[in-house]
Amino acid sequence: MTRLNLALLLLIGCIAALPLFGGPYALRLGTIACMYAILALSWNVVGGFAGYPSFATAAFFGFGAYTTGVLLNDGLSLTLSIMATLAASFLLAGLLGVVLLRLRGHYFAIASLSLVEVLRELVNNATDLTGGGMGLNIPLASGSGILADATFFFYAMWGLLLATALMVIAVSMSRLGFGLACIRQNETASDMVGLNSTLYKSVAFGLSACFVGAAGGLYAAWVHYIDPSDVFDILYSVKPIVMALMGGLGSPLGVVSGAFLYLGLEEVVWRNYIQIHSGVLGVLIVMLLLFLPRGLISLRWSMLWRKAKHV
């Protein structure tokens, strides 16, 4: 395991101590931080490792939110609902991947973006199942008290983050990760050396979706009410990309750092400039892309060492 990956696990480990220091606000922030990190890490598998610029994150987040929401409403336990959502998201993404990943560059980006729209509309129209535009109420899944609720969900999201990180590290060290790196650099050559790129890409897409779906499910259980435009929000597709770009594309540690940093900025902006917060987000994105296209991690390394930042 590389040093960077160890650092990542260490970082995640440190966060586990958060409930010891903070009250409900810190817990809420921590839960969102973990959620953002999950989204960014997952996106990195298909966007950073495989090099396919996916804008579909919101689609799977929403899918996961609704799958879990519906299952919880049917009386299934939270654990089982999340596991079922994980499996369903993986399968859905895998199948969609076979079809969508044939596209390259711009066309893939647009197709993945359209997926968000299509799923949102489908959910909107399936009123009997999902409550449609009126939203879905989700029963309380855990015990009593606000603090207990908050702590529970923090640890649940944290646990999911740990699982995501372990998955990502495992992929980066495996044959799958090696293959994805090949695909990213030269897909034609990858085919020529005997790599079944369709299979690898679909698995990557599936992996990039399953924890996102599970996170969506936890989110739904946490907030107790979701509606289509809330969870199928394009921002859930764009923010992970910005986080990845901020922290350093391709590097799991970079991506997670980017996620935490982004959340920090977002909180500061939201609390102080609520009316123009999306404008400020826009300015942040523009500045980032114009002046720091390789992310924070490139800044540090190029100053101290001269090493490659890819895992």
């Binding site: 610029p53 079809v99 980006a109 997926l115 489908l122 990309i241 826009g282």
Partner: protein, 288 residues
């Protein structure tokens, strides 16, 4: 006759869709940039038309004369100063950049104009025309005629003027254009400016027909996307073909399966085309 009405509606709407999409298609085809600010440009154009009508009672079709140069300059500067820096970056970067810019513009519009829906109602109202059993509101008809005129102007510019030929050359083969002495940076800025101008003008026309609010920018953008993929990039005929096809599918779909599903249908169609025929009805293959 229902069929005739649906067809005429589709024809009118199709031209409007083409007008919405043509600027977007030009920028995508020539600069290889998916301009996510496009929808907000359209809304801004609509606000311009609305504002001028409210204060000076000048109807939108005259506003076009003012809107075109204003938006051209806006687009030109935006490209020259900002977008040009990332012009050869991967699609991820340019897409996210224009997304960020759109957030800024959209937020600014909400801040200054508020998100409430406005409607530009002409007074005195100009009613509709009724031919056989088909009814067409006159404001739509005027907007359609103006839209066709705009696309016609663009067509002539691309075909006849030096700048237009240079733009087409860059679209067909950038490197060859450079070798022929074309100042590509300048062409990019001009093309983007043209795209912005077309968007602004489309917005002015849309003010006649649709309600105006910053919240509608993503709807316009979505339509532009679908039209481009269906019809093919970078050409006027492609935008027309795509616009007509989309309007037809929506019209027929509305009647067959209900209007709420029509939007979903258009996006499903988008995905189908991306998979089966990514170059669109009239586009050239091999364009990423």
């Amino acid at each position: 006759m229902l069929v005739a009405q649906v067809l005429i509606n589709a024809l009118v709407l199709g031209c409007l869709y083409a007008c919405i999409a043509i600027g977007f298609s030009l920028v995508w085809g020539v600069l290889n940039v998916i301009n996510l600010i496009h929808g907000s440009f359209i809304v801004l154009g609509a606000y311009l038309a609305w504002g001028i009508y409210q204060s000076l009672a000048i109807p939108p079709w005259y506003v076009l004369v003012v809107a075109a140069p204003l938006f051209f300059i806006l687009g030109y500067l935006l490209q020259r100063l900002l977008l040009n820096r990332v012009i050869s970056a991967p699609v991820l970067v340019t897409l996210t950049l224009t997304f960020g810019l759109d957030l800024i513009l959209n937020n600014a519009m909400i801040y200054f104009f508020k998100a409430d829906y406005r409607k530009l109602t002409l007074s005195p109202p100009i009613g509709s025309i009724s031919l056989f059993d088909v009814v067409v509101p006159v404001d739509r008809l005027i907007a359609t005629a103006a839209a066709l005129a705009l696309t016609g102007v663009l067509y002539l510019v691309l075909r006849r003027s030096r700048v237009g030929r240079a733009i087409v050359a860059v679209r067909l083969d950038r490197d060859a254009a450079v070798l022929m002495g074309v100042d590509v940076k300048s062409i990019y800025a001009i093309a983007f400016g043209l795209g912005a101008a077309l968007a602004g003008c489309a917005g002015v026309l849309m003010a006649l027909i649709f309600p105006i609010s910053p919240l509608t920018s993503s709807t316009f953008l979505g339509k532009a996307f679908v039209v481009c993929v269906l019809g093919g990039l970078g050409s006027v005929s492609g935008a027309l073909a795509g616009g007509l096809l989309l309007a037809l599918v929506e019209g027929v779909g509305s009647v067959a399966i209900g209007p709420s599903h029509a939007t979903t249908l258009s996006f499903v169609l988008l995905i189908v085309f991306l998979i089966v025929r990514p170059q669109g009805l009239l586009g050239r293959k091999g364009f990423e």
